[in-house]
Amino acid sequence: MTVERETVVVTGLGATTPLGGDVASTWSAMLAGRSGVRRLTEPWAEQLPVRIAAWAAVDPVEIVGRVQARRMDRCEQLALVASREAWADAGAPEMDPERLGVSVTSGIGGIGSTLAAYDILNSKGWQRISPYTVPMLMPNGSAGWISMELGAHAGAHALVSACASGAEAIGYGIDMIRSGRADVVMAGGTEAAIMPLNIGSFAVMRAMSTRNDDPERASRPFDKGRDGFVLGEGAGMLVLESLSHARRRGARVYAVLAGAGYSSDAYHIAHPAPDGAGVTAAIGRALADARVDPEQVVHVNAHATSTPEGDPLEAQALVKALGSAADGVVVSSTKSMTGHLLGGAGAIESVAAILALRDQVAPPTINLEDLDDEVPLDIATEPRPLKKHGAEPMAVLNNAFGFGGHNVSLVFTAA
């Protein structure tokens, strides 16, 4: 028996990324195959084995203003910028604030503010710490600020699952609408973690690329020469809305957010389970939740971070989940251009997946020169047109996985 439920649609998009300060500039840079990765010239980088990263293209302080910015962590500023764009893009709906929710998170939270406050504690004493330190370091800070910005009273949530956080937040937005708690939800993820402690912490795990002399070619998912991920920063936001609410106000609909699937590896705190069963399960559950057949899937925006271990594992899990339908799927990893935005990744990659569906074109995976033999997929290295496979609407997937063994897959279908 099929239970009747609200259809969730996407009516607004926002992004601020290493490729651009908004959705349009980010998407055009992706289609052009541009890298946002740069050499770190800051003195603190000299002591580190990794001296490359992907800063946000536009400093959020320029947009939120200096006074507001001193009360907000950089990840909160980026989230606010992206949410304003998404809200305006959705037509800034006049609506009952009790029916408007927020599901916005981060993988780490305000780590920059934590570190800055700790330096002040040690150098000047507790009284000189900013009284805004706690709201700046808490990982739910972005959700709180955005709820204030929008006057959203249906609930503001911040699920945390490391690098799966942004995708999980979007998945939770589906639940808020289907369960009847909200008509509209601002959902997404943000991160601002380009700091020596974070780079050192990932580097000591041997998880990061050390291709310091060739920054733009360092993030190379699925390529034989990949040697780890490149840290990026930014935020992505989606305005999710019940189809009935969107119809009542005549909103433009980008795509249907058809479903989400989750699993937990329960294997190792930082290594993915080598059989990829958790990833396969998450994708399978997402398709089941979305009531989408594997044959409908034309494109996957993969999690693929450019680590030796993770990329082939995801590729093989995708093949297991999609079966013979995997042959017709065009796969991209936009992390080749943006770097890895951690808790922001699932959100900006959902934005990219939705635009791929709208424009019927898969963005390229740059730096893929020599495909790993263990990757049995069709990876786009140039923008690639997407074609419908049958009578049913086209579907695209976005995958996101996080330390802790969290696997999330989202399914979007054509409006």
Binding site: G65, R66, V67, Q68, R70, R71, Q127, S130, P131, Y132
Partner: protein, 83 residues
């Protein structure tokens, strides 16, 4: 330090921390009601005032300093005592 100098210094602090233009920081204004400054920013302003004027503002006195003139008076009275 004259009251005018204290007022000017306080205006600079409030503009820096709360974004209120210094020329709006006039003696009869209430920090909360007129200048829209919350209690967290007020703590920051008090610490900056301590640094600038060399005056300790204990927490139990800070809560009574509701207007700009209150702070100017407090600084004028106590400047030099604890510097």
């Amino acid at each position: 330090m004259t009251e005018q100098e204290i007022l000017a210094g306080l205006g600079e602090i409030v503009e820096e921390i709360a974004g209120v233009p210094a020329d709006e920081v006039t003696p009869n204004k209430s920090f909360v009601d007129d200048l829209d400054i919350d209690s967290l920013s007020m703590v920051e302003i008090a610490v900056a005032a301590q640094d600038k004027f060399g005056v300790e503002i204990p927490d139990n006195q800070l809560k009574d300093l509701t207007t700009v003139q209150d702070v100017v008076n407090f600084v004028a009275k106590n400047a030099g005592d604890s510097a």
